[in-house]
Symmetry: C2
DNA sequence: TATTGTTATACTCTATAACTATA
DNA sequence: TATAGTTATAGAGTATAACAATA
């Protein structure tokens, strides 16, 4: 029975106290918080069979109709080879189309279908509700401050040398 | 040649403006910021051949000598089946040992070796320098606030229903 | 019955490299 | 030469399911 340190002195049964070194690392906290938000995000969009990545592509194409696959890759910070399967899936479900472009026959202009637009609107709404839910522990000010800080961290690319 | 919207009006060649909907999502920002920090983290520990996960285990074992594999799994929020390979690797490198426990012959008490302790100290120092570097865009107050917010997000487990 | 460690297995995410057709 | 799209492939990371030994 007394499996050593399963629950701490306060009786908190949940996560068991973290060791100090990891506890104070922003990177580690970032990961854990991200995974927590991610899990809820997946649940939110599971009914519409959208993954985080297909959701991102659908939003991008809906808001920037005519965008190319390579520009999608650049905007999302992923490889363009990875975009192929994502567009394949969205296209297969009739949410997005690859439209040939006369001026440059290498690229496809990605266009949302009416169904794609509808799903996008619904999904964005659902995701916003999800964020409200999962970030309920933050005040409006805190949430804005968090967004700004995350933005700055992301944008601080290799110019620290 | 004018590949449409490669660089914006300001001439910023880097990331190309993000679409508004994704731009305002904390979850998306969390992911991007996390990946940015992760990349620098990996570079930091690459020389010592430590991955994020082996680093975490090494820290945990060094700070809580005698901890079991199951408790490591619980502390890190991963499956205990996944801990086996991590401990295998650390043990194979002589950084950690599996010590039989007389009182409960199912479990192993994980103990750091002297080499493991030394590497842990060095790695933690390197990681702290890495955090200072990658979070240089934040003030000390902001960094503390960020840590607190991430902690609260992580801890807000399914009690929002 | 429940838990520890373990193995086998598979799935997701993502990157790399190479190819083709265009430019 | 450089870029767009594509394919094949491989490597992390991680979860699930089952099992033996032990509690």
């Amino acid at each position: 029975m007394p499996t050593a340190a399963r629950k701490d002195a306060t009786g908190t049964a949940t996560t068991a106290a973290l060791p100090s070194s990891l506890d104070g690392l922003v990177g580690y906290r970032l990961k854990r918080a991200y995974l927590r938000v991610l899990a809820d995000f997946r649940d939110t969009l599971a009914g519409d069979a959208l993954s985080p990545r297909t959701f991102s592509v659908l939003v991008l194409v809906s808001e920037q109709p005519g965008i190319s696959q390579s520009d999608v890759a650049r905007a999302l910070g992923i490889e363009r080879s990875g975009v192929v399967a994502l567009v394949d899936e969205l296209a297969g479900r009739g949410l997005v189309r690859r439209v040939p472009r006369p001026d440059d026959r290498r690229t496809h202009a990605l266009q949302p279908t009416p169904a794609g637009r509808r799903l996008c609107t619904r999904a964005v709404d659902a995701v916003q509700a999800h964020e409200t839910r999962v970030l309920a522990v933050l005040s409006g000010e805190e949430r804005a401050a968090l967004l700004g800080m995350l933005r700055r961290i992301q944008d601080s690319d290799g110019n620290e040398a």
